[in-house]
């Protein structure tokens, strides 16, 4: 019970630590596996993802086809392995772009005076009123479906979050003693921002970016589920899942496994992000 919270803390914290530790290891392992899949898909996939064989269509999972086959007789496991590249690239690039630009806006906004700060933050408020998926749908609809547009759409949608966190950090850091000290020995704006404010504001941004990769992949798979992604020869995870929806009654594995991979990947990323946050702020780990 809440009343006995203090007494059990040390004990349960220790008991939790091997379990969180192994969970962390599993997550890191799974992420590593997906990264390797995206780098060397040909070595890991058991079949060619483009090989279509009508006689192999809609086979249930077996030793020959680990996760079954789709309506064209393509091996689902191989499709997932090859599709990982697309999903990973979208996730990482949209975080780099969204986080980079958002971070820059937050940095300028937090450091500068009221007028600049106000303008930027009101723009961010406005972007926030349009839910991420909607904004991404609009951008993809106007620009036409393509991987690059998908990345752009997800990046724009994630801007306000990064900008707000960065601004909050900068506001907090810029009045710290060491920043004033550096100013007192004559440092310029650029030097102060680059060597003192930026490095000290980054950690929460990195936590957010880690978790952001998961969110970006969720959003991107949602968009390509709706048909706003690219239709390559090799479908990405979201599109593969949408193919599975039509065959649910006869072949559950087409829709099940791509979704499982998306979930496991996002769960792993979230666990890693949480662990990183707890490492930076041990107080949140205790609760």
């Amino acid at each position: 019970m809440i009343g006995s919270l203090k007494k059990t803390k040390t004990l349960s914290y220790r008991r939790n630590s091997w379990w969180t530790g192994s969970l962390l290891l599993l997550s890191a392992g799974f992420i590593l596996f997906i990264v390797i899949c995206s780098l060397f898909p040909d070595q890991i996939a058991s079949h060619s993802p483009t090989r279509m064989d009508p006689s192999d269509a809609l086979l249930a999972p077996s030793l020959e086809h680990l996760l079954g086959t789709d309506q064209f007789g393509r091996d689902i496991f191989s499709l997932i392995v090859h599709g990982s590249q697309q999903s990973l690239v979208i996730g990482v690039l949209s975080v780099l772009i969204g986080g980079g630009i958002g971070g820059l806006i937050g940095l300028v906004s937090g450091y500068c005076n009221n007028a600049v700060d106000n303008t930027f933050m009101r723009i961010m408020d406005i972007i926030m009123t349009i839910p991420g998926i909607m904004l991404a749908i609009l951008v993809s609809a106007v620009l036409g479906p393509s991987t690059l547009n998908l990345i752009l759409a997800v990046s724009i949608a994630s801007l306000p979050g990064y900008a707000r966190v960065m601004r909050g950090q900068v506001l907090h850091v810029k009045d710290a003693g060491y920043v004033h000290a550096s100013r007192s020995i004559g440092s310029g704006h650029t030097g102060r921002i680059l060597f003192h404010i930026l490095p000290n504001s980054l950690p929460p941004m990195l936590v957010m970016a880690t978790i952001g990769v998961g969110n970006a992949i969720l959003m991107a798979t949602g968009l390509s589920f709706l048909g706003l992604g690219t239709v390559h020869e090799i479908p990405d995870w979201g599109y593969l899942l949408s193919l599975g929806r039509d065959y649910l009654t006869v072949a559950w594995w087409i829709g099940f496994f791509p979704g499982l991979f998306i979930s496991l990947f996002v769960i792993s990323v979230n666990i890693l992000g949480d662990a990183y946050r707890n490492y930076l702020d041990p107080r949140s780990a205790a609760s």
Partner: protein
């Protein structure tokens, strides 16, 4: 009263801002609507004729002022696909989407509140562990996949509930759970954290020192304190759900704003998409305004600060 009025003014300003933003995205991004509509292999004259017909050849600022002036008269433009007024088509489809969003919201709040409280009360026990894993899975799983799994389990395997269509209450159950689970995960985590945080506050410790029972402290004092961040979150989640309904409606083949948008994407019917997004943005702003105002009811400190 003054506060409520000023919040109204701010909300109107933000909605005007999102109108402008959406307009800019549609018109400034390199994609050309007329070319997109006409197709690739069409001579330039046909594209130009189309552009003239849709009024896209006018200067941007004229188009913008025209659009905004239209908004004040309840005119959101006409659909490219069938020349119907956008507003009529949106209003026709609003009902089912609102029903889905509200029932998912109920699923999310009820599940999130119960699980969050249980998780905090049994902190670091087995039940807490299970709930924490469940809420992590909830926030990390794409809701279209949950939807597909629900259809597979409850419709295809067990034949318990209908998987597609709308109208009856049974048809609302699976989509609401599918859409509500993500929100439930977010709310569970938030409630757990804020209860644990609140239970270390000095005023709770002094209550405990006075010998008041755990249950009374939890329900009368901690929970009220912990609800404040949760209420903020509810406003944000409502927007996400309104947007998430696009995907959920596709999964469950339901009629609604989401389907309207997906069909509009296929037909490149930009005015419909534009209008639907403005609808969601307006809803989002209004809900969050209500949330801001409701703080004053929950948290007396905010009321005091203003005096």
């Amino acid at each position: 009263m003054l506060y409520v009025l000023s919040r109204f003014g701010m909300a109107a300003g933000v909605i005007l801002g999102s109108v402008t933003l959406v307009f800019l995205i549609v018109n400034i991004l390199p994609g050309d609507v007329a070319t997109l509509l006409a197709g690739d292999d069409v001579p330039t004259e046909t594209v130009n004729q189309l552009r003239e017909k849709l009024g896209l050849d006018r200067p941007l600022i004229v188009q913008y002022l025209d659009y905004v002036a239209g908004l004040f008269q309840g005119d959101l433009g006409t659909s490219y696909a069938n020349s119907e007024p956008v507003l009529d088509r949106l209003l026709d489809n609003l009902g089912p989407t609102l029903a889905l969003t509200i029932s998912s919201m109920i699923v999310a709040i009820v599940l999130g509140l119960i699980l969050g409280i249980l998780s905090a009360v049994y902190q670091n026990k087995l039940l807490d562990g299970i709930i924490r894993v469940l809420s992590l899975v909830g926030v990390s799983t794409p809701n279209f996949w949950i939807g597909i799994l629900l259809i597979w389990i409850f419709s295809v395997q067990l034949h318990l509930l209908p998987s597609i269509g709308n109208g009856s209450f049974e048809q609302l159950i699976l989509p609401s759970i599918g859409l509500g689970i993500t929100g439930a995960g977010v709310i569970t985590r938030l409630i757990r954290n804020s209860i644990l945080e609140a239970s270390n506050e000095p005023f709770i410790r002094s209550l405990r020192g006075k010998g008041i029972g755990h249950r009374a402290i939890l329900f009368k004092h901690i929970l009220r304190h912990a609800l404040i961040p949760a209420v903020t979150m509810v406003g944000m989640i409502f927007g996400e759900m309104l947007a998430g309904s696009v995907v959920t409606e596709t999964v469950f083949s339901r009629q609604g704003l989401g389907r309207l948008i997906v069909d509009a994407i296929d037909q490149k019917d930009i005015p419909i998409i534009q209008g639907a997004i403005l609808f969601t943005a307006a809803f989002y702003v209004v809900i969050n305004m209500l949330v801001d105002i409701s703080y004053r009811l929950i948290d007396p400190r905010i009321r005091l600060n203003e005096k």
